[in-house]
């Protein structure tokens, strides 16, 4: 039973007047075996949140429970968790085998059981040949797998990942992403994965927590976050190119922001009038940038069209129509979905 429960979790640095609150009450119920991604820009508090679950940061307010047990006051060593760090944090003076065996030796697991678990993990991660080597003899990707191996052999209740793919090159990142997915399917351990990359979030998450400035803006499946973003932040953060957030759409109401994704705008004979300002050719698709003809604001509208359509000519006026079930309305003042 390794559900995770976050109840009104708050993080504050300092005390009294100079206190700085960085996480403002996060609430989330995570079921046993779920793969949850915490995603957001730099400084949004996602790593801090993860470290509070790990026990590496104190909880200033609220409650964190793992497997039904409140863990606020428990040391990291007592929480039955495993963590994969961004810079791997492998013990440089120990061999790969000893790195993976470290936690098990402390838990007084018998030697043959240790060997069995390490061998099994090594097989899954394909690091068998490296068991006797030291970390400095391995490449970045290999070290990453050893770090994951160290976490796997512990058979913990929860896996925590702190931006583990950030230090890898693009190709390796894509490869490792698939391996993590495979691992989760095989082992089914509850996982919290922190990243700033929305692509990683969309592909790995069963549900994701989108954070901004210490606030949890939305907690939902990738589908939900994409089709029904709860705030303008979520709307613009997920999806590339980002959703158009328009104040000056022709039939807009005052105090409302109209949201529509570039891929949901079709170039039609009639509709919203735009003057074409730029066109980017991306091969399979193209991006068209246009400005309103009915009002003189700086607002730029992005449209994504397929290569099969004709290329709009710069400076001409085109018309676009949003797909009716793909329009979103947000309150201009609060950013929240109406």
């Amino acid at each position: 039973m390794a559900s995770i429960s976050l109840k009104n979790v708050i993080k504050r640095y300092g005390t009294g007047k100079t206190a700085n609150q960085v996480i403002h009450g996060v609430n989330a119920e995570i079921a046993d075996g779920e793969f949850i991604v915490i995603v957001g820009p730099s400084g949004c508090g996602k790593s801090t949140l993860l470290r509070m679950v790990a026990g590496l940061e104190e909880v200033s307010g609220g409650q964190i429970s793992i497997g039904g047990r409140v863990v606020n006051d428990l040391e990291p060593s007592d929480r039955d968790i495993a963590m994969v760090f961004q810079n791997y944090a492998l013990y440089p003076h120990m061999s790969v085998f000893d790195n993976m065996a470290y936690g098990l030796k402390i838990a007084k697991v018998p030697l043959d059981e240790i060997k069995a678990r390490v061998d099994k993990a090594a097989k899954i991660l394909e690091i068998g040949p490296f068991l006797e080597r030291k970390p400095r003899e391995l490449s970045g990707g290999q070290r990453q797998r050893v770090a994951m191996g160290r976490a796997i052999v512990r058979q913990p209740q929860v896996f925590l990942f702190d931006e583990p793919l950030s230090n890898l090159d693009a190709k390796l990142r894509a490869q490792t992403r698939l391996e993590i997915q495979k691992l989760h399917r095989e082992l089914g351990i509850t996982s919290l994965f922190v990243t700033h990359d929305q692509v990683e979030a969309m592909t790995l998450a069963q549900r994701m927590i989108v954070m901004n400035g210490g606030v949890m803006e939305q907690f939902g499946t990738p589908e939900e976050v994409y089709t029904r973003p709860a705030t303008t932040f979520v709307a613009s953060f997920i999806g590339s190119p980002p959703m158009n957030l328009l104040k000056n759409a022709p039939d807009a109401q005052a105090g409302t922001i109209t949201g529509v994704r570039p891929e949901h705008l079709d170039i039609t004979a009639t509709g919203w009038a735009l003057q074409v300002e730029a066109v980017e050719m991306l091969g399979a698709e193209r991006l068209v940038y246009g400005r309103w003809t009915h009002s003189s604001t700086d607002e730029l509208v992005i449209i994504r069209t397929e290569e099969s359509h004709a290329v709009p000519v710069l400076g001409t006026t085109i018309h676009v129509t949003p797909r009716p079930d793909r329009i979103h309305h947000f309150d201009a003042a609060t950013g929240k979905r109406k």
Binding site: L56, E58, E75, P76
Partner: protein, 283 residues
């Protein structure tokens, strides 16, 4: 750290306080002793709280001519000797080392390797292992009992040259190339660009060499025979002669504190550079 164990934090502070107390105790005692009269000290046990004779004792120490059985030379003069010696050694060493390091790193010349190793070897042999012959050389050159004799032999070791060499090696080549394209001569580059960059290293070395020069004992002991060329560090030992009760311990302790004030001040004021320089030099 990781644990929020308040017991461990308490223990940590306790141990630090204990450590500081043990380390500071001799200094505290010296201070207390310097504020009493000689008689009060000789009657064991000595009082553990400061007395009221501070100014008296310190002036006695600085001016000299007390009633102690050992040397009663004026400490003020000895402090002056120490200061001059330390500063000459410091500036001397830093200057010639900067120049040598610059030559070694940025130029190619015949026998460079030979000179490099010659300088390297001096790192290995402190003055204590060549006392006899160095004394003879200095005596032959008529440099005994002179500031020159006190300082020049100690400028001979290469610690500073090495530190500067390490630092110069880490200065990006692009800077030198840019300077050459701008038409700068080597000396211009050295003075306008390299020296300002080396400020931290120079500061750290200043602290280390000043303390080294100020605290020299064996060499000044050999190189000077007259009281008015004693640095204060030698002078203090000369004060402690004969049996315990015949020394004016209050004056001795006052001298001890005076002797450690300038180096301590230098270390405390320049703590940041000093620590950085120390840790970087040796590594």
């Amino acid at each position: 750290m990781v644990e929020r164990n308040s017991f461990l934090t308490f223990l940590a502070h306790a141990i630090m306080i204990l450590g500081v107390a043990v380390v500071a105790f001799p200094l505290y005692l010296a201070f207390v002793a310097s504020t009493h009269t000689a008689q009060e000290i000789v009657q064991a046990p000595m009082p553990l709280l400061p007395g009221g004779h501070m100014w008296e004792t310190y002036s006695k120490a600085l001016i000299g001519g007390g009633a102690g059985a050992g040397s009663t030379a004026p400490v003020a003069h000895m402090m002056w000797v120490s200061l001059v010696t330390a500063l000459v050694i410091t500036f001397g060493k830093i200057t010639i080392s900067l120049m040598s390091a610059f030559a070694i790193v940025y130029f190619r010349f015949p026998f460079k390797g030979f000179f490099f190793w010659a300088i390297f070897i001096t790192l290995m042999l402190p003055v204590e292992v060549r006392i006899g012959p160095t004394y003879k050389v200095v005596a032959d050159l008529g440099m005994l009992n002179t500031y020159a004799g006190l300082t020049i032999p100690l400028i001979a070791s290469a610690t500073a040259t090495f530190l500067f060499r390490q630092f110069f090696m880490s200065v990006p080549d692009e800077l030198t190339e840019a300077a050459r394209m701008d038409g700068a001569s080597p000396m211009r580059f050295f003075i306008d660009i390299l020296l300002p960059l080396s400020k931290t290293s120079i500061a750290a070395l200043f602290v280390i060499q000043f303390i080294y020069g100020w605290n020299q004992y064996l060499w000044p002991l050999l190189a000077t025979t007259s009281e008015d060329m004693y640095p204060v560090v030698v002078g203090i030992k000369m004060m402690v002669a004969g049996g315990d009760s015949q020394n004016e311990w209050n004056v001795v302790m006052a001298t001890a504190l005076l002797a450690m004030l300038p180096p301590a001040a230098v270390v405390i004021l320049m703590q940041k550079w000093f620590v950085k320089g120390l840790v970087d030099t040796e590594k």
